[in-house]
């Protein structure tokens, strides 16, 4: 093994430099003469608000976008990258913010896609599976190579993305918000992988909105604002709050107190509901929960333990095989989704790109997707375009959605801004019950602050809120009570003041807390 080889046998990238990158989209200057570089053996963070141009810069590097201006240098030599094939050949890999997986194919097929096969024109999926299991073993990424992507949870799909890049032996890895979908434990495990890769001589580019992660894992950080580079600093020279203020350009409130709000009657009750997963195996096992007016019930758990199925059971998107869903005293079990949401239940789905909006519709169309047929957005069957436009502009301003116009296609917004559109639509109708899955996933510090304020505002107004989140900090900061789900079962419900990360972490891993009373009391309340 020579000096500049990685354990995978691929050539190391000592340095990679982007100089003067400019990228325009219609009406948007996404990257404005940006310089960026990364070296072998370091993690370089890219930080910036939603829509600052981080993903765009990385897509330029990965060959998905051709920049208007700028050059890329590999080990000091200028290279041209016109397509992902070029960048893969140069040893660059990318894990995208929005997964690039083919749902109808298996894990192994997704990994093998586009690679030459050892059996010529025949696929060699057995070999691929073997190698996947090998990599999975080394890096602790539990995955079944024969599972179909559509059967996997978001967290599991993330693992497939990581394996896909590792499989290709990338020397330089672009990680676009890889931790957004992971639990704290999973993030720790992921960092172990990252550290190992860095020690092996990989160069990593890490995008995250979670400042503590950046402080934890990165060597340098570059901040982008409105497409332009603000600066690059060494992590050792900066504190977390300095970083937050530097990025947003103002003081940021990082922690928040809960107001005293009187808890009302239960508005949403689940009585022993069970349902099946896409695979037909049991996903929920007799789950019972109450969500009261004026409270936030946090649902914590490791991704893929039934959270998605629970939300879908409530909203009528998935058949409940047993038990009842009671909305304000009315049995709405297995109602059609439209009939459930009509009863003023709002739903912010986990997969906002797929379930939360229509990519090819404009922002204003997406904004009224739920209520386009009723007053004030429609009168006598006609769309009230002026009202819709005003409402959309209002929402864009309030939620600080970064977009050239209200007519922009939702699909072309940055990840965080898409989430803001969905949130704005669901919250602005003043729901009686709000079901929010991962509401701040992918949002920048400033936007997270805003969403949290909105949730607390809703709580104050007496909305019953169920917040599904894998972010323990978020759950503990906002919830009145925290239910923990593991393998489709509620392990227990912990009141806010008794919750500690250790306790919740254990429950998330399937350990039932000793004091059984917590569970029973929460039922009688």
């Amino acid at each position: 093994m020579t000096e500049n080889k990685l354990p995978s046998g691929h050539t190391r990238i000592d340095s990679l430099e982007m100089r003067g990158i400019t990228k325009r989209f219609p009406g948007v200057l996404a990257n404005d003469k940006v310089d960026f570089d990364v070296r072998s053996g370091e993690v370089h963070a890219l930080l910036g608000e939603n829509g600052a141009g981080k993903s765009t810069l990385m897509k330029v590097l990965y060959g998905m976008y051709g920049p208007e201006e700028g050059d890329i240098f590999l080990n000091g030599k200028k290279i041209t990258i016109d397509s992902p094939t070029d960048s893969i050949n140069h040893g660059i890999g990318m894990i995208h913010q929005h997964f690039m997986l083919v749902e109808t194919l298996t894990v192994a097929e997704n990994v093998a896609l586009g690679l030459p096969s050892s059996r010529g024109f025949l696929t060699d999926l057995d070999k691929v599976s073997e190698r996947i299991l090998e990599l999975a073993d080394i890096y602790g990424l539990k995955i079944d190579p024969d599972a179909y992507i559509w059967q996997l949870s978001v967290g599991q799909q993330q693992r497939v993305e990581i394996i896909k890049a590792l499989y290709r032996g990338a020397a330089l890895l672009i990680l676009d918000e890889p931790t957004a979908v992971l639990t704290p434990q999973e993030v720790d495990e992921f960092f172990v992988i990252m550290r190992q890769m860095v020690a092996d001589g990989h160069g990593l580019i890490f995008i995250s909105h979670k400042l503590h992660e950046i402080m934890d894992i990165c060597d340098r950080v570059t901040v982008l604002r409105d497409g332009a580079k603000i600066g690059t600093k060494t992590i050792a020279d900066i504190t977390k709050s300095e970083l937050a203020n530097w990025m947003v350009g103002r003081e940021v409130i990082m922690t928040r107190e809960l107001d005293d709000v009187e808890r009302g009657k239960p508005r949403l009750s689940l009585e022993n509901i069970s349902c099946d997963s896409d695979r037909g195996t049991p996903a929920l096992r007799s789950v019972s929960l109450d969500v009261h007016a004026g409270e936030i019930l946090g649902l914590a758990g490791i991704s893929g333990n039934g959270q998605r199925e629970l939300a879908e059971s409530i909203t009528g998107l998935r058949e409940v095989t047993n038990g009842k869903v009671i909305l304000e005293g009315e049995d709405v079990t297995n109602f059609r989704p439209g009939d459930v949401t009509e009863r003023m239940l709002s739903y912010v789905p986990e997969e906002r790109m797929k379930d939360g909006m229509i990519k090819d519709f404009s922002i204003s169309e997406n904004m009224v997707l739920r209520e386009h047929h009723i007053s004030p957005f429609a009168e006598k069957g006609f769309l009230m375009l002026k009202t819709i436009a005003e409402h959309t502009d209002d929402m864009i301003q309030k939620f600080r959605v970064k977009t050239p116009s209200r007519e922009t296609k939702a699909g072309s917004l940055s990840g965080g801004n898409i989430q803001k559109v969905v949130l704005a639509r669901e919250i602005s109708r003043n729901p009686r019950v709000l079901l929010a899955a991962q509401p701040t996933r992918g949002l920048d510090v400033g936007a997270t602050e805003y969403v949290h304020a909105q949730l607390l505002e809703q709580r104050k107004n007496g909305t019953a809120i169920m917040m599904v989140s894998e972010d323990l900090d978020e759950v503990m900061a906002l919830s009145d009570r925290i239910a923990v789900i593991c393998e489709g079962e509620i392990m227990g419900i912990v009141p806010r003041n008794e919750a500690t990360p250790q306790k919740l972490g254990l429950m998330m891993a399937g350990v039932v807390p000793e004091e059984e009373e917590t569970r029973t009391t929460s039922f009688t309340l």
């Binding site: 976008y65 586009g114 030459p116």
Partner: protein, 306 residues
């Protein structure tokens, strides 16, 4: 005629008649699996049929005729690929354009170059030794022309290519999530060019199977919409080779029964009977529509957004 003979007769012509459906629908399935809906199949078939007929008619060489159909089909496929991949046209509409072009062009060429309906001597049945001697079955399955055998062989080949090769994996990925395929360096454009051109070639061959194997003549609009049924068969077959086979057999058997009813002078309105396959198309499509999911990117042009 004895009932056995009638049944053998129906089955034999059913297998024969499945030929053009199979070529055309398998070709269409490749296109659709990669995300391209080609509604121009019927036009491609007509031009293929004419090319095969005319070259055979003038040279007397069936293989040259078949080659002509392949070339014409490939050109039509390439044109369709250019329009859908490079120009990103709306696929449904451009397909109908290609259909009308093929319909008109084949008619024009026929009138200019041939004039009246003439026949050629097409591919003759080849009896497969031993197997063709099996009572009943032998006649039905093993005494057919090379083009019929080819059509049935195409089914397992298509299944194999789609499911067991790297190319098939690319085709399926491109039809479901072109962005993902693109991000792994798979050229969406190349894959779609390949499948649509292949579809054109197979449509051309489907046309040739009619003009130089089944009917051995060329007539204006001789496919009478068969290419559209082939598109429907792809839906019916849930985008799977074996499903397409099942659909093709169902349709051809119904067609054959209908023809035999005429021969046997069964007292049934023959116009009504000949609409049977079309009515069946509608029923079957209505039923299969909710049953299976089409490739997610079907009819969607791919654009990387830069």
């Amino acid at each position: 005629m004895s009932p056995e003979l009638v049944i053998v007769g129906i089955l034999t012509s059913g297998i024969r008649l499945a030929t053009p459906y199979l070529y055309a629908a398998i070709g269409e399935a490749f296109g659709q699996r990669s995300g391209v809906l080609n509604l121009g199949v019927d036009g491609q078939m007509l031009l293929g049929a004419f090319a095969a007929f005319y070259v055979t008619f003038t040279t007397g060489n069936l293989w040259l005729g078949l080659l002509a159909a392949v070339i014409v089909g490939a050109l039509m496929g390439l044109a369709m690929a250019f329009v859908t991949v490079n120009l990103q046209a709306v696929q449904g509409i451009s397909g109908i354009g290609f259909y009308l072009f093929g319909l008109g062009m084949s008619e024009l060429l026929f009138k200019m170059l041939v004039g009246t309906v003439k026949t050629v001597s097409g591919f003759q049945p080849i009896a497969i030794p031993v197997l063709s001697k099996i009572p009943y079955i032998g006649q039905v399955f093993f005494e057919q022309s090379i083009m019929v055998y080819g059509a049935f062989l195409l089914v397992p080949i298509a299944w194999f290519v789609l499911n067991k090769t790297t190319l098939g994996l690319k085709i399926r990925a491109v039809g479901e999530n072109p962005e993902a395929a693109d991000s792994l360096g798979v050229s969406v454009a190349r894959v779609r060019y390949f499948t649509v051109t292949l579809g054109g070639i197979l449509s051309g061959v489907a046309g040739a199977s009619m003009s130089i194997s089944l009917l051995n003549l060329f007539q204006e609009n001789m496919t009478s919409g068969l290419g559209f049924i082939a598109v429907a068969l792809v839906y019916f077959g849930a985008w799977k080779a074996w499903g397409v086979l099942a659909g093709a057999l169902l349709f051809s058997l119904i067609n054959a029964s209908q023809l035999w009813m005429k021969v046997l002078e069964v007292p049934i309105n023959s116009e009504l009977a000949s609409t049977l396959p079309y009515i069946l198309t509608i029923i079957v499509l209505a039923m299969s529509a909710s049953r299976v999911r089409s490739p997610s990117a079907l009819t969607k042009p791919f654009d990387r957004g830069d």
